[in-house]
Amino acid sequence: MPHDAQSQSREVVDRQNILVRATSHHMFWPIVALVVLLVLCQVMSPGFLAVTFTDGHFFGQLVDILRTAATPALLGLGMALVIATGGVDLSVGAVMAISLSLSLTFLRGSSSPDSVGTVAVAVLLGLVVALVIGAFNGFLVVGLKIQPFIATMILMVAGRGIAMLVTKAQITTVTSPPFKWLGSGFVLGIPTPVIIALVVFVALTVLTRWTAFGMLLESVGINAEASRLAGVPSRTLVWSTYIICGLLAGLAGIVYGAPTMAADANNIGLMKEMDAIMCVVLGGTRMSGGKFYLSGTLVGAVILTTIERAVIVFHLPSQTAPLFKAIVVIAVVVAQSSRFRDWAQERRLRRQAGSDSIPAEKVIV
């Protein structure tokens, strides 16, 4: 139903000028929000946007923002696929904690935490467990047909307990330069997390846009029953999105915890599932499933991270960040809503009709 209305209103809009076409693009409002935020920061603290190149590395607030945004971006990319099928994965925060705890506990127990090989095994261990958890979520949703919200809530609660079980509720710390590199190192001057997030983004884009995978996901999200009747293997598809989402959550956990190399099972990834969902929604994807936008999700991740940074730039307590995140999310989702678009268009038409004395009907035609 909403898709019909959307495409109809889009047809009308297409005949308008480029400005209108731009404002109805799913990325328009998120990018406006991001630019406004960045400009505000630059005004408040001159030099905010400056990026310097020293010692073969890029430095600057922007680089820092991108580095921090890698975690929500990784979570958001997986989440976008799940949301496209009409589901949701609330367990990603807990999966982050489990993967990081396992990797660090393994490193701590190993005889040579400095060697690249050991680190690779540790990371692989974390990722495999994350993948298994994703598969379990998929099994609950697809195999047992439990509603995604409840199914993933089970691991959201239990997962944190499992992570604490792994670390024995202690804060596990290790020193391992190769592991630390995953979070705070550089590749060609660019922070490693940014590279990891970009590689994942490109891989997922290739997977979803160069093959039919993305289109089939969207078809399942728009109408699961019709897709099934049309021969779309919806069970396998939906299952695979939970596996990808779990895997990326594990990766996010490792990338997130690598700079400090400390696993605090109680707090790592707390509320990160909500951040991830916000990234996806800011990027123009709707929670009801269907069309999804991976690039939009990346922009969403950068917006949320910029807000966190902006609060500090504006000399506000960092705990007030949720308030501004909420304001930006409300502004963007309201601006993206069809009612707001209709209202804006009507106003524009009326203004044009008033100034040019052209009858409104002519403009519509």
């Binding site: 139903m1 909403p2 949701v88 609950l140 047992l144 047909k145 439990i146 509603q147 919200f149 409840i150 199914a151 809530m153 089970i154 691991l155 959201m156 609660v157 239990a158 997962g159 944190r160 307990g161 499992i162 604490m164 079980l165 509720a169 699961a224 029953e225 099972a265 509320m271 909500m274 969902i277 916000m278 929604v281 709707r286 929670m287 009801s288 307590p317 705990q319 007030t320 960040a321 949720p322 308030l323 501004f324 995140k325 909420a326 304001i327 999310v329 409300i330 989702v333 309201v334 809503s337 069809s338 009612r339 707001f340």
Partner: protein, 347 residues
């Protein structure tokens, strides 16, 4: 004693017919939850009773109600929202916000009745905000309530990042007021929170099952986004915004109850409380896609959830096992519900 307490719930939900196969399918999930509740009580009685003190006692129920009274209120509001096919993630943050508002206003010398009214108003405003976004701007309930959750939490952090104690004597009297019935393990305490919770449950039950608004709530959750209800001339917009306002007000009431319970306001109160409110509703047999469920089911759900925590506490397990076990029980429960009731296909 337990029988007396649980039977009316089971009986009212199991409907009149005596023969088992004739029970209305809609009541099966609630019946399932009630059976599990009785089973848990029996297991508790067998495992934790000592020669001179049984597990099942009036005091157990008294504590169960006292510890979960705010959850009962939240669950009633949440049931309405979920029945329309929505969700309200903001309740935990609203509880914290209300607690802080009460603490700040009472310290500033505002009279108690005005403070309590403002507390309810805060909840109502938060709910209205969600309702407007959901109904008029077609924002998904998950996102709308998530945004309000962040909004409320951010406001909490602006008000204070420390616990504010409430020293108002009037509030203290309200918090400590209570009637004791019986003695020893047969004690049952009636306090302000219990009375509020009972009133909210009864009001919720009556609204949902005996008013036009209640029928419209079910109609909204029937899977067509309220299209049929709208064509029938039912007040769709009023009801859709209304359920979120109701849930917000319930969160406001729960905030007052929580403040009475802790005699303070704290910005970190209620993190994850929204899940504590949603889990009992799901346990009580309300489907998250909407259209099917009962207020009394959610009440049974809260007792199951509360009893589960009592049992885990009695086992004396580490805190991480508690979390794992709650997850496992949640899973078993959801699976049981699926076995007991053939679910409507999602379509």
């Amino acid at each position: 004693m337990s029988r007396v307490d649980t039977e009316p719930l089971a009986a009212s939900s199991a409907a009149r017919p005596r023969r088992l196969p004739r029970i209305d399918r809609r009541f099966l999930p609630v019946l399932g939850a009630s059976v599990v509740l009785v089973l848990m009580l029996l297991i508790g009685q067998l495992r934790y009773s000592t020669p001179h003190r049984g597990f099942i006692s009036l005091r157990l129920f008294s504590n169960l109600v006292a510890d979960n009274s705010y959850l009962l209120v939240l669950a009633v509001g949440m049931t309405f929202v979920i029945l329309t096919g929505g969700i309200d993630l903001s309740v935990g943050a609203v509880v914290a916000l209300v607690g802080l508002v009460i603490a700040v206003l009472l310290t500033a010398g505002v009279p108690l009745p005005v403070v309590l009214l403002i507390a309810l108003l805060v909840g109502a405003v938060c709910g209205t905000l969600i309702g407007i976004m959901v109904h008029y701007f077609d924002v998904q309930p998950f996102i709308a309530s998530l945004a309000v959750m962040f909004l409320a939490r951010g406001l909490c952090n602006i008000i204070s990042v420390q616990s504010l104690s409430i020293t108002d004597p009037g509030f203290g009297r309200l918090a400590s007021w209570g009637i004791k019935l019986g003695t020893g393990s047969d004690v049952f305490r009636i306090n302000a929170s219990l009375i509020i919770a009972v009133i909210v449950i009864v009001a919720g039950f009556l609204i949902l099952h005996y008013t036009r608004v209640g029928r419209t709530v079910y109609a909204l959750g029937s899977g067509d986004d309220g299209l049929a209800a709208g064509l029938m001339g039912l007040p769709v917009g009023f009801t859709r915004v209304g359920v979120y306002v109701l849930s917000g007000v319930c969160a406001g009431i729960a905030g007052i109850m929580f403040a009475l319970y802790t005699k303070s306001g704290f910005n970190l109160t209620g993190i994850g409380m929204e899940l504590d409110a949603i889990a009992p509703v799901a346990i009580g047999g309300t489907l998250l896609i909407g259209g099917s469920g009962f207020v009394l089911g959610s009440v049974v759900g809260v007792f199951v959830y509360g009893l589960l925590q009592v049992i885990i506490a009695r086992e004396g397990l580490d805190s991480w096992w508690t979390k794992v076990l709650i997850g496992v029980f949640l899973l078993i429960f959801v699976l049981l519900q699926r076995v007991v009731s053939a679910r409507r296909s999602k379509g």
